[in-house]
Symmetry: D3
Subunit: 131 residues, 6 copies
């Protein structure tokens, strides 16, 4: 259970409503997920975080589906269950196939393994990587 109130539609201020409506318009759905309802306790942070996500996760030099895959990978390493669920859903919505999902999971598992192997043996960075 959240340690803050999840702001419901009937309780939103005009500031919050403006952000919620931009989320709805950008995503083409009426659904507002809990992340935004929790952030809404601090409307300034809500707006800033939404602007940051909209700008960072929108079109750029990296494909938008790939961006969601990277996001999900970081969230896995950080053990953020909510974020894994929401960004897996976002990656699927942007075209990730089941085969790509399985391959993504395999890469994440492998990275987890070699990160631990490297740390366990305290392997020094090669000079070639520092050039």
């Amino acid at each position: 259970m959240a340690t803050v109130k999840l702001v419901q539609d009937k309780d939103v201020s005009s500031e919050v409503l403006e952000v919620f409506n931009d989320i709805r318009k950008t995503r083409g759905t009426d659904f507002i997920n809990n992340f935004w309802r929790a952030l809404a306790v601090d409307p300034v942070n809500l707006k800033a975080t939404w602007e940051e996500i909209k700008s960072t996760m929108g079109p750029g030099t990296i494909d938008v589906m790939v961006k969601e895959m990277v996001y999900m990978a970081v969230s896995t390493a950080n053990g953020c269950s909510y974020c894994i669920h929401s960004h897996t859903a976002a990656a699927k919505a942007k075209g990730m196939t089941d085969e790509q999902h399985a391959e993504l999971v395999k890469i994440i598992g492998l990275a987890g393994k070699t990160n631990h192997l490297v740390n366990a043996m305290q392997i020094p960075v090669d000079d070639a990587f520092l050039a």
Copy 2:
């Protein structure tokens, strides 16, 4: 400094040499980085890990440059300095531009932020993501 010996060329067994030579051939370079020299203390683990990396990071349903970007992202969240250096280098070798690198870093930073926001407020997963 590593807590295991980094196996040098003059000390390799035939088992290790076979793996080193496959790494050289696959990558088109004579350079063997420290990760493999550390793993070489356990030739069975060396061979199995190389086979796993060759298979997982080679061509599949996800672009090989994207695979390195995901790997680098997981390594960042896990704080593995060696892995960040080596997989950033690998992503660049596979075509990642400076602009893509900057954008990747920005996504990782944003994921770090929202992972912490979500954990801090203990936001419950929406039913919509569990369907």
Copy 3:
């Protein structure tokens, strides 16, 4: 579900009861939360951990409410759901307002972001910070 038994009042030994009673007296409530009931499987560890928490989290050179905020911040980065809940409650009990809670969450989110940015780019510590 816990992987150890949560010791109930009817099953406590005199050693455990003594600690439980000191917790009750120190906190001014009869409520013993699950953390102590789980630790009670090892009465020596229970007593040592309680003494450590009572001493470290009691009055000192840092305000007791601030101490709980720091505790909650570390617990967030470590992804300990139980600890986030209990130390958010403790901070609130010691006077943390909703505004301070929202500001705390924002700082934690920002730290999560820049920790990831710094790790992602492997930024070296400035000499000025090492003086």
Copy 4:
């Protein structure tokens, strides 16, 4: 060594210079630490991150020294060496005494301990904390 170029004064664009000058003015020093020089490879991210830090870490409902202590605590749990150094320095600059530093370290250590105890035994959150 950083995986990006650290932008030096002689190479800054006018966009970057504007941010660097605001950092200098806000902090009352000419010194620009490596974090900003690394971020400067992406001037838009540089400006946004600086604005976020200036706003979040400036005066609010939590004391500015306490904010730096929280930041350092999160950075410790995330193992970000650069961030621990820079935010310890910032906390000291804002008045943290050696006694408070020692007490902060002790709280962080204790949180690390109980976070692990709780995870190790998978202790369920008490209903009282969910109310």
Copy 5:
């Protein structure tokens, strides 16, 4: 809830069945836990991971019960709830007593504490440990 399908007995391919049957035979039980049912969406990864676990966690130079204790300890530090449950169960099945479990938990808690103390103060590695 899993973000992949958990493969049920009635849906297994012959490839998956072969692995499931080897798990059953090796462990002397019909029970197949969810980890394998989730991995089964990628039969190649399922087989490779099972072979790796069977080989790494079987008899060697470290006692098999100790191996499960190490596994559970790593899983605790990584906050993997599923893994803590399953490897605690495995350690118990291989003979871990309640006293050993309590002692293991205490070591993990202590390591969590000193890991945080060391990171918080950025203590440099002694030359003696690098020899």
Copy 6:
């Protein structure tokens, strides 16, 4: 570089000297590693931490070499370089062979892998593990 002073022999108070001498006697060596020299800025914390380590890591129901292996495993997952070096050294001093070290590293790597696989797919804990 440490963010606290490392207390040198010529500067120790009688309180600190008493602890240093007990460390020397218990370990049968004059060498005091940096961890204790950093903790010595807070003599009460120094004494309490030494007593906790002496008691927890000394003889009990788990072999003392195994205890060091568990400690090193947790430190790896937490990315504490100092701790990995010192507890690898301690495990070796207590009899860990190179073969056992290689096997320990392999288990830690495997746990890192499956922890990530489980988190990535959000696999629910089996009822059988909750009984």
